[in-house]
Subunit: 237 residues, 2 copies
DNA sequence: CAGTGGTCTAGACCACACG
DNA sequence: GTGTGGTCTAGACCACTGA
């Protein structure tokens, strides 16, 4: 076989069986050791591990080790209806919780001002938080909301991470325009989700409209592939 | 320099300005030379280049060089309606064409048989092709169709790459169920699209239903991020 | 043929986790 | 402190392109 991909493929298979043979929660051998045992360099091994990490089969924790993860139920959702992650998870009996939360009240960036169609001098409430399912980070959500609609003081200890639920309290919402793309994780997002910079993520960029046509929320949502299964029914013609 | 991300960020900025200052179509300095000039190793430089390649700003061609690409018009489409890429492109006045085409008539794999709900002994028509826009590969499409619906002989020289148009000729179609995910390119797909293995792609996995409820097509579509902008309107409640 | 990008190696230093 | 993963380096060999 001249095919030079066989080396990578073989390594991929070896890693796959190793992970399959390891009990969930257990730790894999360290990278230097595993690289030696498999006869490849650490860089190559890490590249091969990336796929499994992306699929959520292993979790790498700096300073501690690489662990085989417990399989996570897949969160499935149609995209036609806007739904919070909690709501999606609840439907399949999955427990989700909010991890790190960052709140800022500040002037909007140029992009935010444009997306929200804000006048000069307005401020926005900025929310960034990690969503966990079964103890693992699975999504990173960023919302930017005009501060005449929502302010820091409106966030109490009952805030679960869903900006949607929060806005529903004081507004009648209409719909969200959501752009879908595939991106690689920046350092910031990678850190929040416990993955590596450069790993692949599904990204939603959305603007939320209230019933009277006002833009009330501009958000970025980053989802771990493998945990979420989003679908849409597309009609012909 | 305490912040270790500053090195990467600075490199990213340097690369960005270099690309911006280079005329589209022109070649960048070679990797070894550029790495020397920027004071980083080739591996680090290549990692930094990956982002720009993903965004379609540069094109790397083995044995030849790295070129700054001409900006491509963005192909925008809503997902509610199933539409061929040609049709999408036509709306914005973009010329698309089919690149490499592979056709097979063979028994289905287990996954294909399950997705298409085929009985034993059936055969399928397998279509894989690259779609180009403005001379650049932008999508890789794979369709699997039961061979009682479509056969190799039905593909004439007028085949443009759209399985949808082909099926419309003989069937009344209803809708498509499309799962959306972010993936990294396999060697096969990377080669077809002229990107690197491991680069990020948007993937649609779809099953197409005819008006009488029969599954008539099972497909995977891989899209270059940056070229396509898919959106969906999500209603509240 | 020389030069390019694609891949891999061995080794190093760092920030971090955990005892 | 010790060992982990995260990152970077210098160098090598390969497949491929194009003169």
């Amino acid at each position: 076989m001249m095919n030079h991909t066989n080396a990578s493929q073989r390594l991929h298979e070896q890693l796959g069986t190793l992970i399959a043979d390891t009990r969930p929660g257990d730790r894999l051998p360290s990278e230097p050791r595993l690289a030696r045992e498999l006869g490849v360099s650490r860089a190559t091994l890490r590249e091969a591990m990336r796929t499994f990490e992306t699929q959520g089969m292993i979790r790498r924790q700096q300073g501690s080790g690489t662990y085989v993860t417990h399989p996570v139920h897949i969160i499935e959702s149609g995209l036609e209806v806007l739904e919070s992650i909690e709501s999606m998870a609840q439907r399949i009996g999955l427990v989700v919780s909010m991890g790190k939360l960052a709140v800022e009240q500040r002037p909007p960036t140029a992009a935010e001002a444009q997306a929200l169609q804000l006048e000069d001098g307005c401020q926005v409430l900025f929310l960034a938080r990690v969503i966990h399912a079964e103890g693992r980070p699975v999504a990173y959500l960023i919302d930017t909301i005009p501060d005449h609609l929502l302010q820091t003081k409106d966030l109490d200890e009952n805030f679960t991470g869903s900006a949607l639920e929060l806005l529903k309290n004081s507004l009648v919402l209409q719909s969200s325009r959501c752009e879908i793309n595939a991106v690689t994780a920046t350092s910031e997002v990678a850190k929040a989700l416990g993955i590596q910079r450069g790993d692949v993520l599904l990204r939603f960029e959305a603007t939320l409209y209230s019933m009277d046509g006002e833009i009330v929320d501009y958000s970025f949502s980053y989802f771990l592939p493998g945990v979420f299964r989003f679908h849409v029914v597309r009609k012909v013609e």
